[in-house]
Amino acid sequence: MEDIILKKNEELKKSRVRTFNKRKILKKSTPYTYILPIGILLLSFYVIPIIMSIYFSFTKYNIMTPAKFVGFKNYLNLAQDKMFMASLKNTIIYTVGVVPLQTSIALLMAVWITKREKSRLNELVKGAMFVPVISSMILIGIIWRIFLNGELSPLNMIFTYVGLNTPNWIGDTKLALPTLMGISIWKNVGYFMVIYISALMDIPKSYYESARVDGANKLHEFFYITVPLLKPTTIMVVFLGCIWSLQTFDLVYTLTGGGPGVSTMTMVLHIYNLVFKQFRAGYAMAVANVLFLLIAIISIFQRKLLQRDKSIY
C-alpha cells in the first residue's frame, strides 16, 4: 500500500516537474507565436520582395525566362531613358506642386473652422471635405474624366457661362499635369485638414489668451503660436503628402494614361508599363528602387526633423 502511495507521489512530482518545464518553455515562446502570423506576412510581402527587388534590378529579367546578371547596366541606362527622365521629372513636379498647396489649404481651413463658433455649417464642411477622401482614386478619376470632358460637361458649362474659353483639361500637354495635381489636392485636402483640426484642439486656449493680453493680433497668433506649435503635425502632413504624391498611379491610369505625349507619365505608371507592356521586369525594378530611395530619404529626413523637434516639448 505504502509502496503504491510513494510511487504515485514520485510520479506526481515528476509530472509536475515536467509540466512546469513545459509551461515555462510555452510561456517563453508564446509571445513569438503571437507575433509569428503577421511576422510571416510582413516578411514575405515586404521584406523578401524588397530584397528581391534589389537583386533583380541588377539583372535582365522578363519574369518568364531566368534572370541574367548584368551588373549596374540597368541603373546606367536610366539616364538615357527619356520616359524615365520624364516620369521622374513629372513625379517631382507633381510632388513639389501638390504638397505645399494642399498643406497650406488644409492648415488654413482647419484654423478657420476651429476658430469659428460651433455650428452645423462647420460640421457640414468637415463632412463634405471628407467625402472625396473615402472614395477610391479610380472612382475620382472616372468622375472627373466625365466632369471635365466635353463642351457641355458641368465645369465647361460654368466656363462658357462666365465667358471664358473652355480649356482642354486633360488633352493639353501644358494643362494635363496641373489638372491632375488639382484633382489630387481636391481629394486629399480633407484628410490633412482633419489631422490639423485634431492637432489644433490640443493647443491650450490659455496661450492665445495671454498673447491677446500682450497685444497680439490674429496674424501674430497664427505665426507665433499656431504654426510653431503645429510643427510636428506639419512635418507629418508634408511627409505623408510627399509619399502619396510620389506613388501616384490610379489617377493617371484612368484619366490620361501618361499622355498626352509623356506630359503626365509618373514613375509608378512607368514601372507598370515596363513590366506588363514591355516585359522588362529587371529594369523596372531599377526604376522602382529609385522611387524607394526617394521615399527612404524623405522618411529619414522626417524622422530627423521630428527627433530634433521633440526637444521643444
Binding site: I35, F45, L121, V125, A128, I134, W144, L152
Partner: protein, 269 residues
C-alpha cells in the same frame, strides 16, 4: 459689421463644401439618366430611369465584382485585426528578448511602398500559383500599421487587470479574448474601417494579379467598364455610384471613428 463678415464666411464655406460634393451629386444624377453622349446632359431631374442599374446588374459581371470586393475586404479585415492585435498584445504586455527590436523592425516595413514591392510580389505569387486567386488578393492586406495601432491601445490597459486575471488562473489566450479584446474595441473599429476602405479602394495590385473575371474586384471591374463604355456615361456612373456607396454608408455611420483613424494614421511611416 460682424454679422456681414459672418455671412460672407458662411457663403465661402458653403461654396467650398459644394466644390467637394458636386462631382458626386453629378455622378448620382447621371447614373439615373440615359446619356449616350457627353452633349445631352443637364442638371434637370426629368427622364429619371433605373435602366443603367438594370443593365449593369443584368448584363455585366458587376454584382460578381461587388461580392469579390466584399469578400476580399472582409477577409482582409478579419486577418489584419486578429493578427495585429495578437502581435500588439505580445509587444505591449509581454517581456521577451528582442521585443523592442522586433517591433522597430516591423514598423520599418511601413516605409516600403507597395508600389515598389509589387513586381517581386507578383513573381512570388506566380511561383506559388496564386495569380487569379483570393490568396494573392487577401494575404498582402495586413500592414505593420495595425500592429502599431493595437500595441498603442493595449499599452493603455492596466497591468493589474491582466495580472489579477492570471492569478485567478486565466490562460493567456483567454486573457486576450475576454479582457484585452473588449477593452480595445475602439481601436479595433478604427483598424476595421481603415483596412476595409483600403482594401475596397485598392486598384493597382488587384489589376496586376487578376487576369480573369472570376476573382476581379470592383475597382478593376469599374476601370474596365470605364474603358468599354466610353460614351455611355450613365452606365459608368451607375457603376461608380455602386462602388462608392458601401464606403460612404460606413463613413456616415462611423464618422467619429473615421476621424480618429485619420489622426492616428498620421503616425504611420
Amino acid at each position: 459689421m460682424k454679422s456681414i463678415k459672418r455671412i460672407i464666411g458662411n457663403i465661402i464655406l458653403l461654396m467650398i463644401a459644394s466644390c467637394m460634393i458636386v462631382p458626386f451629386v453629378y455622378m448620382v444624377i447621371t447614373s439615373f439618366k440615359i446619356t449616350y453622349t457627353a452633349y445631352n446632359f443637364d442638371f434637370s431631374l426629368s427622364d429619371i430611369t433605373l435602366q443603367n442599374y438594370i443593365t449593369i446588374i443584368r448584363d455585366t459581371n458587376f454584382v460578381h465584382y461587388f461580392l469579390n470586393s466584399l469578400f476580399i475586404a472582409i477577409s482582409g479585415v478579419v486577418l489584419n485585426v486578429l493578427f495585429s492585435s495578437l502581435a500588439g498584445f505580445a509587444f505591449a504586455k509581454k517581456e521577451f528578448p528582442g521585443n523592442e527590436k522586433l517591433f522597430f523592425f516591423m514598423i520599418m516595413t511601413l516605409i516600403i511602398p507597395s508600389q515598389v514591392t509589387m513586381i517581386p510580389l507578383y513573381i512570388i505569387m506566380r511561383q506559388l500559383g496564386w495569380i487569379n486567386s483570393y490568396f494573392a488578393l487577401i494575404l498582402p492586406i495586413p500592414t505593420a500599421f495595425g500592429v502599431f495601432l493595437m500595441r498603442q491601445a493595449i499599452l493603455n490597459i492596466p497591468n493589474d487587470l491582466i495580472d489579477s486575471a492570471r492569478i485567478d488562473g486565466c490562460s493567456d489566450i483567454r486573457i486576450f479574448f475576454q479582457i484585452v479584446v473588449p477593452l480595445i474595441k475602439p481601436a479595433i473599429i478604427t483598424l476595421t474601417i481603415f483596412t476595409f476602405i483600403g482594401a475596397w479602394n485598392e486598384f493597382l495590385w488587384p489589376l496586376i494579379v487578376t487576369t480573369n473575371d472570376s476573382v476581379r474586384t470592383l475597382t478593376v471591374g469599374l476601370s474596365s467598364l470605364n474603358a468599354q463604355y466610353t460614351v455611355n456615361y450613365g452606365l459608368v456612373m451607375a457603376g461608380s455610384t455602386l462602388t462608392f456607396l458601401p464606403s460612404f454608408i460606413i463613413y456616415l455611420i462611423l464618422q467619429k471613428r473615421f476621424v480618429e483613424g485619420v489622426t492616428l494614421s498620421g503616425i504611420k511611416g
